[in-house]
Amino acid sequence: MDVDRRALAIACLFFVAAGIAAYHAHAADEAIIEDVYQETMFYQELENGAVQCGICFRECILQEGEVGFCRNRKNIAGALYNVVYGRPSAVQIDPVEKEPQHHFLPGTRILCIGTAGCNFRCRFCHNWTLSQRDIDTVGRTLVKPPEAIIREAQDADIPSISFTYNEPTAFYEYAYDTAKLAQDAGLNVIFHSNGSMNPEPLRALLQYTDAATIDLKAFDDSFYREVTEGRLDPVLRTLEIIYEEGVWLEIVNLVIPTLNDSPEDIRAMCRWIREHLGPEVPVHFNRFTPAYRLSTLKPTPIETLEMAYDIAREEGLEFVVIGNVPGHRKNSTFCPECDAVLIERHHFTVREYRIDNGGCPDCGRKIPGRWR
């Protein structure tokens, strides 16, 4: 057989093998669709079998077989599916202070759920083993439909469920269905998000949400683009919507030395919070510690955190906390009126709880939040 015919035979064999593999892959997808995948709630069908996701600001346009930036939404036969529905990678009980939520049932525990994937690429993510992976490479996953999550919380006598560890936007449908069931069961719902959800799905989820912790990573869009591959504007929009909907809101700013610690930006951020939200929204300035790809950057100087704290108070924010510095006095909650200690905290442990009837025990000032 001469070279040309031999090459042609090999090429034919290759294409046949590829076709068989593609058929089986498609068949496998279809089998999984029936069992696990959940059609997503917010998307548009486009021409030629393409779809456009509507969950977050990216609004990925996906051709057949493609997966979105978050790694969790896949176009299968012209429909968009969430591939992590009911497949959490982490289900754990944590103190609510770890969320962090300081004004929502302090001292109680929360059942935390995370899956895989994220629509950001933060170089300092502490949960990168979940957020920067897809469901197939994350390692162990569980099978827990929403009802199972509710049962687990009830069995452990946990009053609240939290969607955290990785970005809830990436597993929106799972979070939504679970939140709905949780509310029916009398459980509280919290989520911790990067704030990138689009308004429509956000408002839909907020109907079943009691509290939200939103990361405001910087007040500089270039930081968002360069260090997280995100955007600032969607986050600001999210904050306004949450506040408007009356869901309890707390904001976290992880202060990363040399990257987002400029006093001017911090002041501008605090001013925006006061003017667009309200001075009663708690703001956490958390200390950065080396993690993930930022493993050789030093931790945040305490001086920087205290500077941020002072700026926030100068700008009129009433509840400002320094986090990730166990033993720091400003980890506790103080009355904005008389400066009395309301909740003495050491790391995630509540040492003393003094809120009396939703207010300061010393001067009577009403303290916003959900108290036990």
């Binding site: 990678s89 982490a90 754990q92 009980i93 944590d94 103190p95 935390c112 995370g114 170089r123 502490h126 949960n127 990168w128 083993t129 979940l130 920067q132 992976r133 490479t137 994350v138 390692g139 162990r140 560890y165 360069e226 260090v227 030395p257 040399t258 990257l259 200390r287 510690t289 080396p290 993930y292 790809r293 930022l294 493993s295 050789t296 950057l297 030093k298 931790p299 100087p301 305490i302 001086e303 920087t304 990730n324 510095v325 166990p326 033993g327 050491h346 790391h347 995630f348 442990t349 040492r351």
Partner: protein, 775 residues
């Protein structure tokens, strides 16, 4: 003697040879010294991982091969001398620039921001790019020197060039080791090398160029002037070079101090009101407010796991919080062991209350020794041995996570004593690479101790003992309270959270599902899994590739080698096959040569943990062998003798491979009783013996293949040698040693050399070989 062309006096051939020989030696010395210095800089860029050594050395060899190939091209000048002079001058200019860029280079080239880690792929690529100019130039000097010698009518020019260069390499290695011992600044050494090459270039120009109008006298005067000028300014220029390099590396903050010790690099960086100490590029401590949360968590849990600890041993990575937490308990003594005597001195000047409390406590006793050696050789026993915050990300640190080390701690512990260590975990769930790492360490611990437990967290805590551990929240809380240890945030609720059974069960289930193997000294699987974990941060694909490679059996790599031998056998009557077989043998000897070099360095690092200061000396040992082997090989002029001796050395290299394995294991088993000097001597001697075989083969191959001229031969042969070294360096450093250990690596190399030996036997046979390969 008068030149007919110019009518001017010319140097006699003997004097010209005497001039060129030391120049070639200087090139050899400069090469090895440059390699070692640049390796250290790139290791620093990569966070101290010694596997970078193999990558950087391999890249250097690849680039030298390219330089040798390019240097083979005919010169436009009537002689090769002008080209040789230009190459030497170029090296003297390029080396200082390369030295400045080596450490900050990976970040600059790839736009890596401050604080971001540099992965191995970036290191590999950037070392290739940054060292390319200087190493290509260095490689091109070899064929140029061969031509120069031929123009001087020196017979067997290739062999003699190899010989002189190897001799220079040997001297360079020894000089460098002495320089490190004398704490000479690295940039001063770089400048000395550059000056040497500059002087060499002028010497060649003055001695060998055709004379015109008194040029040699002027050249000599210029030489003396330049050398004197630069000699007097070396310290200042070196300081400026270090400053520029540091400024390029540390873009946010001010470098207060940067010091190279025999064990690593210590840099102190100031930003706003805080100072951070970096050890080999990794942040170790921030003052005045170190982050002590994890250190306190670990220390208090470990201490309260023991009913009544009196004497505690803390091994490395423990100042700045952990020691203070331990000393908060009512113990009698805390012995802290850290190999680098410079570190506590630098830390004590940091104005940090935590450090001051630790260093001023009378119960603290600091030992400046390698932690592993201390445990092996000391007779004292302790209630607790705590391994500070390190991870098995380097060969040096992996030694504190192996089954052999854990076994050695048993004799240092009281009957109810506890060994405590920690390793990277995850807040929510660990990915497969991290699970394998934890599983490997846990399994290694279980081999040494009957009772062990693991406590999940951001750092998983592993505890082990000869008696049941019996941890529970109530017990630990009670002990902390009784001891008045002031554990801060660690109240009963926190401890209950840390000891949560569900989390522990989930972690144990993950670990039991892993197929990770035991971590051993000469089979550092912990390092492999740590590399996979590190790689997973940058490329999930790369991490999963590493996991799949782990499942590949060694035999699948041996099969292709048999295939090569089979091809050579089948084509043995083809005119070019004989040259190909010899070139293949040189290539495999290049691999083996690099393997001997690296494996000896790795073995030394595993045994002692401070290979950097001995890097030059150990490489020089191999060069000793290369020199004597080369000298012997050059002296064999007759082709039939060359063929027989070539085959003899092929067999010798093959037999030395299992010998290396046996020697390494014997040394490891008796390291506690064998003096360090004796171990060094044994490894040095072995390196020399292995170098003989590799060194002799090159000139013998040249004799077999080249006939009368080195043209078209020197370059390809040298390139084959260097390419073999390149591949060997990469594969052994990144893959075979961490993955298959010393034994697996040796087996693979035996298969490689066996394939080349077989190819030689069937193709070289009784037939004489000349230039084009005609029978």
């Amino acid at each position: 003697m008068r030149s007919q062309n110019t009518g001017q006096m010319a140097l006699s051939p003997r004097l010209r040879t005497l001039a060129i020989a030391p120049v070639i030696g200087i090139v050899g010395a400069g090469g090895i010294m440059a390699q070692v210095l640049l390796v250290r800089e790139f290791i620093l860029a990569g966070g101290g991982n010694e596997l970078t050594m193999g990558v950087v050395l391999a890249n250097w060899l690849l680039l030298e091969a390219i330089g040798a190939y390019l240097g083979e091209r005919p010169s436009r000048d009537t002689t090769t001398v002008p080209r040789y002079v230009r190459l030497l001058m170029a090296f003297s200019i390029l080396l200082p620039l390369t030295a400045i860029l080596a450490h900050p280079g990976p970040r600059l080239l790839f736009g890596i921001g401050p604080g971001e880690s540099v992965n191995l792929a970036v290191l590999a690529l950037s070392s290739l790019v940054i060292t390319a100019p200087v190493s290509i130039v260095h490689g091109a000097t070899f064929p140029a020197a061969c031509r120069v010698l031929e123009e001087l009518h020196i017979k067997r020019a290739i062999g003699y060039t190899y010989l002189y260069e190897t001799l220079g390499t040997l001297l360079g290695g020894v000089l460098l080791t002495l320089a490190f011992s004398a704490r000479v600044e690295k940039m001063e050494v770089v400048l000395a090398i550059a000056l040497g090459h500059l002087a060499a270039s002028l010497l060649v120009y003055a001695s060998l160029s055709p004379r015109r109008n008194g040029a040699p006298r002027k050249a000599y005067m210029l030489l003396v002037g330049i050398v004197l000028l630069l000699l007097f300014t070396v310290p200042q220029v070196a300081t400026a070079m270090t400053g520029i390099s540091n400024q390029l590396r540390w873009t946010r903050g001010t470098v207060l101090e940067s010091k190279d010790t025999p064990y690593g690099n210590i840099t102190v960086l100031q930003h706003l009101g805080e100072k951070t100490v970096y050890y080999d590029g990794e942040p170790t401590l921030t003052a005045p407010n170190p982050d002590t949360t994890q250190a306190e968590d670990f220390a208090h849990i470990a201490m309260s796991a023991h009913p009544d600890p009196a004497r505690v041993l803390l091994l490395t990575g423990g100042l700045g919080g952990m020691a203070r937490a331990i000393l908060a308990h009512p113990i009698d003594q805390l012995v802290y062991v850290d190999v680098d005597p410079d570190l506590p001195g630098i830390l004590s000047g940091m104005e940090c209350t935590v450090l001051e409390d630790e260093l001023s406590d009378e119960r603290l006793h600091i030992e400046h020794q390698d932690a592993r050696m201390y445990v092996s050789r000391e007779k004292a026993t302790f209630d607790l041995i705590i391994v500070g915050f390190i991870d098995p990300t380097t060969l040096q640190s992996n030694r504190l996570f192996t089954s052999e080390f854990f076994a050695s701690t048993r004799s240092r512990l009281q009957q109810d004593g506890i060994l405590a260590l920690s390793i990277d975990g995850a807040p929510a769930q660990m990915h497969p690479g991290l699970i394998d790492l934890n599983a490997s360490i846990a399994a290694s611990l279980q081999q040494a101790y009957p009772y062990s437990t693991i406590i999940p967290g951001e750092r998983n805590i592993l505890l082990a003992g000869q008696q049941p551990l019996g941890l529970d929240t109530h017990l630990l809380t009670e002990r902390l309270g009784e001891r008045d240890a002031d554990p801060g945030f660690m109240d009963a609720a926190y401890i209950a959270y840390r000891l949560d059974d569900d989390r522990k069960t989930r972690l144990e289930d993950s670990l039991s599902a892993s197929t990770a193997g035991i971590n051993l000294d000469m089979h550092p699987r912990g390092l492999y899994y740590a590399l996979a974990h590190w790689g997973a941060m940058f490329s999930p694909g790369a991490a999963s590739v590493l996991q799949r490679i782990e499942r590949v059996s060694l035999r699948w790599l041996v099969l292709p080698l048999l295939g090569v031998a089979a091809v050579l056998a089948l084509r043995r009557h083809h005119p070019r096959t004989r040259r190909h077989a010899i070139t293949y043998a040189i290539w495999t000897s290049g691999v083996a040569g690099m393997a001997f070099d690296l494996l000896i360095l790795f073995v030394f690092q595993v045994l002692y943990g401070f290979v950097y200061s001995m890097l030059g000396a150990l490489m020089a040992g191999f060069m000793v062998g290369l020199y004597f082997g080369g000298h012997y090989g050059v002296g064999v002029a007759e082709e039939e003798a060359a063929r027989r001796i070539f085959l003899f050395f092929e067999v010798k290299v093959l037999l030395l491979l299992p010998a290396l394995f046996l020697i390494a294991n014997a040394l490891g088993a008796h390291i506690a009783v064998i003096p360090q000097a004796a171990v060094f001597g044994i490894l040095f001697l072995f390196a020399a013996i292995s170098g003989i075989g590799v060194g002799a083969q090159f000139p013998l191959a040249a004799t077999l293949v080249s006939g009368r001229s080195s043209e078209g031969v020197a370059g390809p042969l040298y390139a084959a040698d260097l390419m073999g070294g390149w591949l060997g360096g990469l594969v052994i450093a990144i893959l075979t040693f961490p993955l298959w250990g010393l034994l697996g690596t040796v087996v693979l190399l035996i298969a490689l050399k066996a394939s080349s030996l077989f190819g030689l036997l069937v193709s070289v046979g009784e037939v004489k070989i000349h230039g084009s390969g005609a029978p």
